[in-house]
């Protein structure tokens, strides 16, 4: 009861005129920043941090949290309408959001993203409200072996359940993981894989260079080539009745993905090294694994949009929890928020809930209000996004190319990376022709920088004994499930052979 009373006070604080105005402005600004390729919530929060000194600390963090929420919603927009992930958190949304848009179902994809995001955000904030201290302790019990096991599980869902050519899928994952190791070795600090002795590789290869190259350039070239000049305008349309129908479709077809993303995303968001990007990718993988028709994923499944969107929104709330209760940021954006709180004179940690209850519960209340504001603003802007899609293709295509290049430069600030982006784009175009799946490579370059250090830290902890992954109560079952999934294609192959020989016999 005490929690409900405190939450009630928090919501009253959040709907004060100044705070409500900041929430609406924050989610709107965040929506557009998130939708811009190359820019994510961290850019919005960092750039607008100085603006918050004009308002009291409580209102300031509410404003920044609203930007964070808005950007999480916004990332899906460019993934769906343009086929370019707006931010790393929206990479998985591209896998099914873009095919839906190409089938003339952009409205359905945008509605599924909005509903998935709203549900994920709401579930997360309810979990946050009820179980904050207990969940923070659980998150702390996840060490490097457990996080490595989770990363392996994420890769395994792509190998074991992909309908694609298994050899090409494994190649794609390994390729992405090798690219993630370019630059400096995170453990020893030595330069590593400086390809062709080019200094540009010293800074590593950002996932954005690969993702924008593959989806912004490669995918567009492939679309233009495969459509044989047949597409002039998208068939996407907008109507209130259509949105209501799409909401029903999302509930029917996307409920499972939404539920998986909402709960899994929150928990992955709690883990200090993880954040919303692995959460969305893992939600996608698990939703695919548990789907009735996993082969539809990647071709325009509603669950394939709802799951990662629910996952990344849920994780964005989840990552606030270790920041507030332990002072440990769960993502780059929460690291900036943490910095802001310190500047405002607040000390994140276990004492924050006792010393500053008004601030904490005002912030939690603002999560509820921001979530509602974000879904309303998002749905209100759907006509604008659909209008963009209805432009003639010979206008839309150069806009996508330009946003890919300009957005890529905005994120990387180096022309070397733009040339590399083109190499990946043209490479992806040709590999796509030979049915190489590119999504696992993008997944791998995102999760690789988490997987490798956690594996090596684990082995350092165990003095080189790999059994550390199998003799810990949380890591062991996750590892076993991951290994079974990796071996699933072999089992399937053997089963098929036995069936064939039985038929012959």
């Amino acid at each position: 009861m005490e929690i409900l009373s405190l939450l009630g006070d928090g919501i009253v604080t959040a709907v004060q005129p100044l705070n409500l105005m900041l929430i609406v402005i924050g989610v709107s600004v965040g929506l557009f920043i998130g939708a811009m390729p190359g820019l994510g919530s961290v850019n919005g929060v960092a750039i607008l941090l100085p603006v918050t000194f004009l308002v009291p600390p409580g209102s300031a963090i509410i404003f920044l949290a609203a930007i964070y929420y808005g950007a999480m919603y916004g990332g899906a927009i460019s993934s769906i309408t343009l086929g370019i992930p707006g931010a790393s958190t929206a990479v998985a949304t591209t896998f099914d959001g873009r095919p839906l848009a190409l089938q003339g179902k952009a409205r359905l994809a945008l509605v599924a993203a909005a509903i998935g995001s709203f549900t994920g955000g709401t579930v997360a904030v309810v979990l946050f409200t009820g179980f904050a201290p207990a969940l923070a302790r659980v998150a702390l019990s996840f060490g490097p072996p457990e996080i490595f096991a989770l990363m392996l599980l994420a890769f395994a869902t792509f190998v074991g359940l992909g309908g694609d050519d298994i050899a090409k899928t494994i190649f794609s994952i390994c390729f992405g993981l090798v690219l993630a190791t370019v630059g400096f070795d995170q453990v020893s600090g030595a330069a590593r894989l400086v390809l062709f002795d080019m200094n540009g590789f010293l800074g590593g290869i950002s996932f954005l260079v690969l993702a924008i190259g593959v989806y912004g350039i490669g995918e567009m070239l492939w679309t233009i080539d495969s459509m044989r000049g047949g597409i002039t305008q998208s068939k996407a349309d907008y109507s209130v009745k259509g949105i209501v129908e799409d909401s029903g479709t999302t509930v029917r077809e996307g409920w499972k993905g939404t539920a998986i993303g909402s709960f899994l995303g929150f928990f992955v968001g709690l883990l200090p090294a993880a954040g919303a990007t692995p959460a969305s990718l893992m939600s996608y993988g698990i939703a695919k694994m548990l789907a009735k028709n996993p082969e539809e994923f990647g071709k325009g499944a509603v669950g394939g949009v709802a799951a990662p969107e629910a996952g990344n929104n849920s994780a964005s709330t989840g990552s606030m929890l270790p920041m507030l209760t332990l002072g440990i940021p769960g993502s780059p954006t929460t690291a900036v928020l943490l910095g802001g709180m310190v500047i405002w004179g607040l000390v994140p940690g276990p004492r924050l809930f006792v010393d500053e209850p008004e601030f904490v519960w005002g912030l939690i209340g603002s999560f509820y209000v921001s979530n509602v504001a974000a879904v309303l603003v998002n749905i209100a802007f759907i006509p604008l996004f659909i209008w963009m899609l209805r432009m003639p293709f010979t206008v839309l295509a150069p806009l996508i190319f330009v946003l890919s290049i300009v957005g890529g430069f905005a994120a990387m600030k180096d022309m070397f990376d733009i040339w590399l982006l083109l190499v990946f784009g043209f490479g992806a175009f040709f590999l796509r022709k030979f049915d190489y799946p590119v999504a696992p490579a993008v997944l791998a370059i995102v999760l690789g920088p988490i997987a490798e250090p956690t594996m090596r830290q684990s082995l350092l902890m165990s003095s080189g004994d790999p059994m550390i992954f199998f003799n810990r109560p949380i890591a062991a079952p996750i590892m076993v499930v991951a290994i079974i999934l990796i071996l699933l294609p072999v089992f399937k192959y053997m089963l098929d052979r036995r069936k064939r020989s039985a038929q012959r016999g």
Binding site: C174, T181, D185, A397, F434, L459
Partner: protein, 167 residues
């Protein structure tokens, strides 16, 4: 397509070998008591890439992949033309950034694509060439405070005017 698939697999196998060589420079062994060396992870992943290309070649030999059963060319006349005009346009766009600035290159690329490739009227082309780069400028330089390449010195007068507006 059939020939293309095996050539691609061969090129990717060579790339895997190159990655293995580069990774081996950091040591790819496993030190008892302390775990893997710096090149261990990328080296064995590159081995994974190489083994995968072996299986891809095996599937090609057995004719089980769609591409290995196809007699169609990798790129027909339309595909070659598309790649030349669109792909060449994008390469030209990026090459122009260091000369005419990012926004100048955007304007020229939009002119090329909407007018030359798209065949649109000047009513459609003009906003794409003039207004769109300006919108990008005010968003990135003004709102997000992200500076884009300004090209060679002859673009300075234009930037002086624009920076006076936002600062």
């Amino acid at each position: 397509m059939r020939l293309g698939e095996i050539i691609t697999a061969g090129l990717l196998a060579l790339l895997s070998l190159y990655f293995m060589y580069e990774a081996s420079l950091n040591g790819f062994g496993y030190t008892r008591g302390s775990g893997p060396q710096g090149g261990f992870w990328p080296f064995w992943l590159a081995v994974g890439m190489l083994v995968s290309t072996g299986f891809i070649a095996l599937n090609w030999f057995r004719g089980t992949s769609p591409a290995s059963q196809s007699d169609e060319p990798l790129l027909d006349a339309f595909g070659r033309k598309t790649l030349l005009l669109v792909g060449g346009g994008i390469i030209g766009f990026v090459a122009l950034v260091d000369i005419v600035s990012m926004y100048g290159a955007v304007a020229l690329f939009m002119l090329y694509y909407t007018k030359v490739l798209g065949g649109h009227s000047w009513w459609v082309t003009a906003p794409m060439v003039l207004v769109f780069p300006l919108m990008l400028f005010f968003f990135f330089e003004g709102a997000m405070q992200i500076t884009m390449p300004t090209g060679m010195s002859f673009t300075d007068p234009m930037y002086d005017i624009l920076y006076n507006i936002i600062y």
